[in-house]
């Protein structure tokens, strides 16, 4: 009837919104398992919840909890986590243009920069759609993450193992689905194939996080850029 109501209906029917929410649901279960694991290893509930809110990079949070509670030096946990998160720097160069609307946008948008937000943005066509997808994903996942870490820590072992639900396969599959449109362009596919191969081969040799950075060498596989693509953006 009213404009508000119509907008709301179309918001919930939006395919992007549906996809982002299903991603947020899967992330919430992973977050709950992080909370449960951390509390079972003696990390205070408030501290793991705070970590979820201020770090907001799941992989490095699991890693830090695992290393510290296994007796590793704090500096080792911090440096390993930072290496795992190093990919955010090139991510920022790629999507930074979506955050160029003043300082608040830049400061808040940077904190929301997770793999999924970058992937949802890259899967869109126009800058306006990319911007919307980035913010929608970033905000939805941020709102899901720390509260689910808290709830998981509160409920403890009752949360269960995310591996039993296959969520460790769901996350990479979701990212793969998001980059699939880009992979239909042959040069990009070649660069990704070379990069992924390098990352897989170097994983047994390098500390976690670095193989993904080394994969950037694969970008060389697209050079030189074809003339016809130069003016497209």
């Amino acid at each position: 009837m009213s404009t508000v109501q119509r907008t709301r209906t179309s918001f919930w029917r939006d395919a992007l919104v549906r996809d982002v929410l299903s991603m947020a649901l899967a992330m919430a279960i992973v977050g709950a398992s992080l909370g449960a694991i951390a509390v079972s290893k003696g990390v205070p509930l408030w501290m793991i919840t705070l970590m979820g809110a201020v770090v907001f990079a799941g992989g490095s949070e699991f890693m830090a909890v695992g290393l510290v509670t296994a007796g590793a030096a704090p500096i080792t946990a911090v440096l390993s986590g930072l290496m795992l998160n190093a990919r955010h720097l090139p991510f920022g160069l790629a999507v930074g243009g979506l955050l160029d609307r003043g300082w608040p946008t830049r400061l808040i948008g940077s904190h929301l920069m997770v793999d999924e937000a970058v992937a949802f943005a890259m899967a869109q066509r126009t800058p306006e759609q990319k911007r919307r997808a980035y913010w929608l994903t970033g905000i939805a996942l941020y709102c899901a993450w720390a509260p689910s870490v808290f709830l998981g820590g509160l409920l403890g072992q009752g949360v269960g193992d995310p591996g039993a639900f296959g969520l460790d396969a769901a996350m990479p599959a979701a990212l793969l689905a998001l980059i699939m449109p880009s992979l239909r362009e042959f040069r990009t596919l070649r660069a990704v194939a070379v990069g992924a191969l390098i990352a897989v081969l170097t994983t047994p040799l390098l500390p976690e996080g670095l193989p993904v950075m080394v994969a950037l060498v694969g970008v060389a596989a697209v050079l030189p850029l074809p003339k016809k693509l130069e003016g497209t953006r």
Binding site: R106, V118, A169, I179
Partner: protein, 103 residues
């Protein structure tokens, strides 16, 4: 776990996240560079997918996870809806584990 670890990890991660958008504000970036950086982001995501499909903490993650990601990948290639890709990947891995067909 100490607050020092939490805040050092948070500060370092935020610095790396902010560096890209800050640099972008200072540089004039040509369309070619813009395109290369987009491809670089896809390469990073692709490498992240490949390593997380195969490895857990530096060791092989088991065939169940790999099979789930592979099923999801094929469905995505056939342009299946996003939610179906995610559910099929999780379901494949969960069922393989449930029936202990693959670890």
């Amino acid at each position: 776990m100490t607050l020092g670890v939490v805040f050092a990890l948070a500060a370092g991660t935020y610095a790396m996240r902010l560096a890209g958008p800050l640099l972008r504000g200072r540089l004039r970036i040509s369309p070619q560079w813009e395109q290369l950086m987009s491809i670089a982001a896809i390469v990073l995501l692709g490498a992240f997918v490949a390593t997380s499909a195969l490895f857990e903490s530096g060791g092989f993650a088991g065939w169940a996870r790999f099979a789930g990601v592979a099923v999801g990948g094929v469905l995505a290639w056939r342009r299946a809806p996003f939610v179906l890709v995610v559910v099929a990947a999780a379901g494949t891995t969960a069922l393989l584990r449930l029936f202990e067909l693959a670890a």
